[in-house]
Subunit: 206 residues, 2 copies
């Protein structure tokens, strides 16, 4: 059985929703960030990066949301969560997820995880000031074209959708005016209402 | 025919080498960063992100190195550049590439592209000071386990190898003491000597 290690309000929610959408046989393990459990010896033995999500499988542990999402789709082909028989469409899906991971999430992370890229408080505060502008810029490309509609990849709901949804929920906290993003917000509310999303969110945060 | 848009000394080299390893039918287009050609209307029409690499195909343009690498491997299955018939091994490969993209490359980018995450020179300089520490930390996980040996994924050479090679070439410029990374440097020199790597490097920088 798959085992998802997550913490609430992290990008682990994307994989959690994807597991629900796929009808996967899985269980969850909550990692307590307030107690710094992600740096505990027990968790570092699962994922030496000390981050969530991690997905334990019979073969070993997987990390990195884009890789996990593609894996969940491949292991549940009946769910239609990825265009598995079309390498170009699959690559488009992966490119979207990679952009979320390396550009959108990274822009957001400068608000709370600035210590990754700076050693002094002045710099960390300077990065924090730029977060609204950097996050807004990263989402503008999505609003203005990458989000094809009605779902990210067009007519088919794929693993891109819960991932975009998860990161878009951070917009207000990042100080971005969401009225600039009507298509993105419409997408966010449509994903939020899906039963799989509701189940995952309730399981994480009640 | 595939068309790779690249600039020298960027992560585009990973895809360039992968195309050579795959024996792909492709041509290259050099984007002149010194002339800011990546922000020209012509190039933004190819890739609205204004970055390299991009890979133009008969179906449209692909971006994001992890997505492009998996696509190149899938389109050239005879090359053996990815474990295409094993979703778990494929996900491990993807997780490695995602880590390179969103952690290793991002740590490096704070040296030259700090303006992405800051609006003032004091913060940009503060981020630059932390680059050796951040990059070193990102590579330590690779040195201490993620690089299985002899190749990243073990016995098989995959698209992870030219990608790791490409980013590891930036270590000296980032102020990291490479003597801390004997396994990584051994890997780097072995990738450098492969005929496909030599052809791609010569084509980019002579």
């Amino acid at each position: 059985m798959l085992k998802l290690y997550f913490a609430p309000n992290t990008c682990a929610l994307a994989s959690h929703i994807a597991l629900e959408e796929a009808g996967a046989d899985y269980e969850t393990v909550r990692i307590d960030f307030a107690a710094n459990q992600q740096r505990s010896p027990e968790y570092l033995a699962v994922n030496p990066k000390g981050r969530v999500p991690s997905l334990a499988t019979d073969r070993g542990v997987l990390t990195e949301t884009p890789a996990m999402l593609a894996f969940i789709a491949q292991m549940h082909p009946q769910s239609g969560l990825a265009p598995l028989d079309d390498p170009f469409a699959f690559a488009e899906m992966q490119a979207f997820n990679s952009y979320l991971c390396s550009t959108v999430h990274v822009a957001h992370a400068h608000r709370m995880r600035g210590y990754r890229w700076a050693d002094d408080e002045v710099t960390i505060e300077g990065m924090r000031r730029a977060v609204p502008r950097a996050v807004r810029g990263a989402f503008e490309l999505i609003e203005n074209g990458m989000l094809k509609g009605p779902w990210v990849m067009g007519e088919a709901y794929t693993v891109c959708d819960p991932y975009l949804f998860t990161l878009a929920r951070w917009l207000e906290g990042d100080g971005v005016d969401t009225s600039r993003f009507p298509r993105l917000m419409d997408h966010r509310f449509r994903v939020a209402k899906r039963p799989a999303s509701v189940r995952a969110i309730v399981a994480e945060t009640g």
